[in-house]
């Protein structure tokens, strides 16, 4: 609640209040907080120094607010956690008390001090003192600033039309916002459309997905762009400009009725990606019968341009000379829901995937189980199309792998999907022998443990705790599996008809490109997925304002969690768009025209083209709206004519000068 706004011109003598936080024992357990307060009082311009167990709490914030209201201080330093944690909290406290929120600085004495030097008390104390001294020096020269507000365009770009993208788009479309739903495949549905049944309810996946798929194509507010990709992005939160490339279908999508004549007469056969290479499709194709949109596409990589389809098409829809179309859209928010790729099991050489025909991976098993799959729902093993009487599932293929051949994380869904596939098969073949070799069974969700228990007790599926060391095949292409039963402490050698590898979920191969286009940091560790802003409190935000993530692009997860995240992302985007405006931190740069020499060095440096040259005045000018505050031009200007709010030389140089304690300075040096 802003009472009377304290008018500061920035030229009054700074009266700094330093507040040192104990943060429970996180800071207080390592350094002597009261001593730090005493130290703070010795610093120039500091008029009071207090401490409290949790400065970010109501009581802590009230301490600051009261001191401001009583006029004791006009600058605030809080020595506590990282500014990336609570800068907003304390800034709001300052502005609620009537002090300009930019006259606040936070000294990081937790993440950068007590947490990394837990056992070195004198060392941590020195660093805490240095950080406080630096913050005091900076806050002494900070200027009061006003935030800029920009309008938020009430439209959202949803990238990826799997179950996450579809749900997010529907929620937003139904709330009245315009949604551009972009999908790189010719059909929506993602991986969920490939699944047969979903655990633990054994719902038919198509039955729950297809209604949503058709809803998304009919919703008035959703503009569906399939077979399209986002190629570039400009702008900032509330005002993004995206360029979308609509790939050429080579079939006019308005004229195509989906009759399928072209596919019937097409002479070229190639592997169907939807069925993971187990069923052929023609060069003119539709991914699967229930695809949405229902129009056909020609795969030019395989098309031989024989012209037969062109003759046969009843609506004359074939266009061989189709070209990509580029569309520019303006949106306020973006949701990334681009999904996952399966782990490439050929990397696990000992399991023979790619060498032995009867070793398949889980997604292929889903297609075999699926009623519109390559074998019409009857699971048949590839070598001789016999229905297997014995199957081994190998868990954790490519996950929980610390040797470098896979990923370290657990993919979360494999224990459940293997149990589900085993159960599906057992329902049709009650006498089949099924073995699932696992390290642990992770059945964490609602109904999952009961499902797993049921599978073992009532369906007779054998769960054996132990890793499969290797497998090899005999002349009949049966597989001999060697493993250890760790609970019974004995070795096992089994001959089975088919082996299914429970592969893990990996980030998509082009995730680095996505991260670059959308300017969201892809985690560079083994994880490889897009990073959320905070793992606990901001699971669908990214560090780029206005861009949200939903679903497996952020990490492996099952369908309930994916849908929950999609709805969360839609809700976050809607909040932004409903407010209609967003505040932007005013860190932009300014040219001091009396210092500018007109050398134009800065103009080419700006990545946002925010600097233009005023030919009349012969000086550079910076647009406040376009400037993002990176400071590159500030550093580069040879005349030091460009200054920056809050992070200018005037603020940073005092920090550096004060950083070095006096006893370390050169003998005889004054500055």
């Amino acid at each position: 609640m802003v009472e009377t706004e304290i008018k500061l011109t920035g030229r009054e003598t700074p009266k700094i209040g330093v507040y040192v936080c104990w943060c429970g024992i996180n800071i207080g357990g390592v350094v002597d907080v009261p001593k730090l307060c005493e130290y703070s009082m010795t610093l120039p311009n500091v008029v009071l120094a207090s401490e409290y167990k949790f400065m970010c709490s109501d009581i802590g914030q009230n301490m600051i607010m009261e001191d401001i209201r009583e006029g004791k201080i006009n600058r605030v330093v809080v020595a506590s956690c990282s500014p990336r944690m609570h800068e907003q909290t304390f800034r709001r406290a300052c502005s609620d008390a009537g002090l300009n929120q930019f006259l606040f600085e936070q000294a990081n004495i937790r993440e950068h001090c007590t947490w990394v030097s837990m056992n070195d008390v004198p060392g941590a104390t020195k660093i805490a003192q240095d950080h406080i001294r630096m913050a005091v020096a900076k806050v002494s020269v900070l200027q009061p600033l006003e935030v800029t507000t920009v309008d938020v365009e009430p439209s959202c770009l949803v990238v990826g039309a799997g179950i996450a993208g579809i749900n997010a788009a529907l929620d937003l479309g139904n709330s009245g916002y315009k949604v551009y739903l972009v999908e790189k495949n010719p059909t929506v549905g993602g991986h969920m459309a490939q699944l047969d049944k979903t655990f633990p309810t054994m719902d038919c996946s198509s039955c729950i997905t297809t209604p949503k798929m058709s809803e998304v194509s009919r919703n008035q507010n959703i503009e569906l762009m399939t077979y399209s990709e986002v190629v570039s992005l400009d702008g900032y939160v509330g005002n993004f400009q995206a360029k979308i490339k609509k790939k050429p279908h080579y079939i006019d999508q308005d004229l195509c009725t989906g009759c399928g004549q072209c596919a019937e007469v097409c002479p070229v056969e190639c592997a169907n990606e939807f069925d993971l290479g187990m069923k052929p499709r023609k060069a003119a194709y539709i991914s699967f019968p229930q695809a949405v949109p229902g129009q056909y596409t020609i795969d030019m990589d395989h098309c031989i341009k024989c012209g037969i389809c062109e003759e046969e098409c009843p609506t004359k829809a074939i266009k061989y000379n189709d070209k990509p179309e580029y569309v520019d859209v303006k949106v306020g928010t973006i949701i990334l829901a681009t999904g996952w790729d399966p782990y490439d099991a050929t990397r696990m050489e000992q399991y023979g995937f790619g060498r032995y025909p009867n070793v398949i991976m889980a997604l292929q098993m889903e297609r075999l189980l699926s009623s519109f799959g390559p074998t019409g729902g009857k699971v048949k093993r590839p070598s001789d199309l016999k229905e297997p009487e014995s199957i081994v599932f190998i868990q954790c293929v490519g996950s929980r792998e610390f040797t470098g051949k896979g990923r370290k994380y657990c993919s979360r869904v494999c224990c459940m999907y293997a149990t589900k596939q085993a159960r599906s098969y057992k329902e049709k073949h009650p006498h089949a022998r099924i073995y699932i070799f696992y390290i642990d069974i992770r059945a964490f969700g609602k109904g999952y443990e009961e499902f797993y228990h049921d599978a073992g007790m009532n369906y007779g599926i054998n769960f054996i705790r132990g890793r499969v060391s290797e497998l090899y095949e005999n002349e009949n292409h049966d597989l001999i599996v060697r493993a250890e039963d760790t609970l019974l402490q004995r070795q096992i050698e089994l001959k089975v008809d088919m082996v299914i590898l429970s592969i893990g979920l990996e980030p998509q191969s082009d995730i680095d490109d996505i991260a670059r286009i959308f300017n969201v940091t892809a985690t560079k560790t083994e994880d490889g997925f897009l990073m959320e802003a905070h793992p606990k409190l901001r699971p669908v935000d990214t560090l780029t304002d206005g861009i949200f993530v939903a679903g497996t692009v952020q990490g492996p997860k099952d369908i309930p969690d994916t849908v929950a995240q999609a709805k969360a992302a839609a809700s976050s985007a809607a909040t932004l768009m409903a407010k209609g405006q967003v505040e932007i931190e005013p860190y932009f740069a300014k040219v001091l025209d009396f210092k500018c020499a007109g050398c134009k060095s800065c103009i080419s440096l700006c990545a946002y083209k925010a600097i233009t040259f005023n030919e009349y005045e012969r000086v550079a000018e910076i647009s406040e709206i376009l400037c993002k505050g990176c400071g590159t031009c500030v550093a580069a200007c040879p005349s030091k004519a460009i200054v920056q709010n809050h992070f200018g030389d005037a603020q940073i140089l005092p920090m550096i000068k004060s950083a070095i304690p006096k006893e370390l300075k050169a003998r005889g040096s004054e500055n």
């Binding site: 990336r84 950068h112 030097s117 630096m134 940091t521 400071g631 590159t632 050169a666």
Partner: protein, 141 residues
């Protein structure tokens, strides 16, 4: 030799907000221990790194300056880190002419999830500076 054992290098860090500062926060959250020699200043972008920051720090007595930004291609502001890559070799040449060992200005790339790497580099850098000795301004090398 024994005075070198006791010598604790004073290292200043200039970290960009989006990647490296977040990475350092991550290292803190995971309690990755490192020697207590680093003070970190936050800038919004690597491009903000002005060579005069480094020179100022060293002339004021810091033993080493470590500048850390996003990996090339990942800069939150598109290219700021690339601009700094261009400045570093010239800065190091310049330092040599001042008689300051160019190793005292170190440039690394740390992304928001690379707390481990940061801690490793930090430990190695402290050892390196221990061997180099204190800043020549204070009578070192």
């Amino acid at each position: 030799m024994s005075s070198q054992e006791l010598f604790d290098p004073y290292i200043l860090g200039i970290f960009c907000n989006w990647c490296s500062y977040a990475g350092a926060d991550g290292a803190g959250t995971s309690r990755m221990q490192r020697p207590a020699n680093f003070r970190i200043i936050r800038v919004m972008c690597g491009g903000r790194m002005d060579p005069q920051f480094v020179v100022n720090a060293l002339l004021n007595g810091a033993d080493g300056v470590i500048i850390s930004h996003c990996h090339p291609g990942d800069c939150h502001y598109v290219e700021g880190n690339l601009k700094t890559i261009r400045k570093m070799p010239i800065l190091q040449l310049y330092l040599k002419q001042f008689g300051i060992n160019p190793k005292r200005a170190k440039y690394i790339f740390i992304s928001a999830s690379e707390g481990v790497q940061l801690t490793e580099i930090a430990k190695q850098y402290v050892e390196e500076l221990r061997e180099l000795g204190p800043n020549p301004i204070r009578g070192g090398n």
